[in-house]
Symmetry: C2
Amino acid sequence: MRAVVIGSGDIGTAVKQVLVEHGHEVVTVGRQSGDLQADIGDVESLRRLFAEIGTFDAVANAAGHVRSGPVAEATDEQWADSIASKGMGQINVVRAALPHIADNGSFTLVSGVLADEFTHGSSISATVNHMVQGFVLAAAGELPRGIRINCVSPTVLTESEHYYPYFPGFVPVPGAEVGMAYLRAMSTPMTGRIIKLHKMTS
Amino acid sequence: MRAVVIGSGDIGTAVKQVLVEHGHEVVTVGRQSGDLQADIGDVESLRRLFAEIGTFDAVANAAGHVRSGPVAEATDEQWADSIASKGMGQINVVRAALPHIADNGSFTLVSGVLADEFTHGSSISATVNHMVQGFVLAAAGELPRGIRINCVSPTVLTESEHYYPYFPGFVPVPGAEVGMAYLRAMSTPMTGRIIKLHKMTS
């Protein structure tokens, strides 16, 4: 596979490593790093990106940020920025890549444990993660040419120690396991699935 | 209860009727009709609305629209308009009303069957409905002063015959049952719940 991996953080780094270890060609995309540059919050930069890349079989998105803040205090700007980045930004990755991705290609997006388990001030995260998951569930039935779409929902990564304070009592997942989840989504017939990398609380 | 019912369509009409039948005081809000006017797509109109209403115990939102369109064809504007109305518009109802709603008050928002069952061109609906549901799940744990929040997910209403062509094979739900779901959300201890008014497909 020739895979486009967007995002240069701990998740994107782990996805790239697993794909390379399994013999796939990877084109990395970051806002300022990577083989090519784009910002998922800027749909025009995505349109330029995918027109430039040429042929590719898979897009693995690991980019997108969400702001934290209690419902009673979060600002219009915190909401708008979060929706534009991890929410609509990921949907725009699919929309911009769709004319260019190969037949039977795949998209793998990212949500997160804060879709299912909540922390103080995580309502924006929950909203945006659900937004992405809802899109994946429905878009799977609509994409043309055998193209598939799935979503990986990681908890905090073992490698992301700087995020530990925001995930009290959450068992981290090794980056390699997150990379494996992307590889599985890209390499099996699954579509419209959310791969949750945490145990579920009832 | 003194309840604010936003939305003058079939759902809002049904909710108002059930609440009045059960002896509650209802303040209706529409874009151009109702006791007071506001547009949930315009957060400043919501801030003015709730500052003007005075004391109230419940907000039942039945307003918000979503555009329809295949993933490969839907425009930036269709996405943005849908997120701003039924998505962020409902979240802004909660944010704008929160400083004014009574202790132990309640919010009831609306999603829809297109969160769980998909039709051709329903990806925007699925995205926006999940967005609202994700917010409700997380915000329930955060709202202060005993305030609760829930979401009603109706299928097409029996009364909404003009929508039948968009819901092929979907069994309609009577408006009165939708109104009862809102009444139950407002009148019982439930919080962070999605009341689904359709049978689930596995």
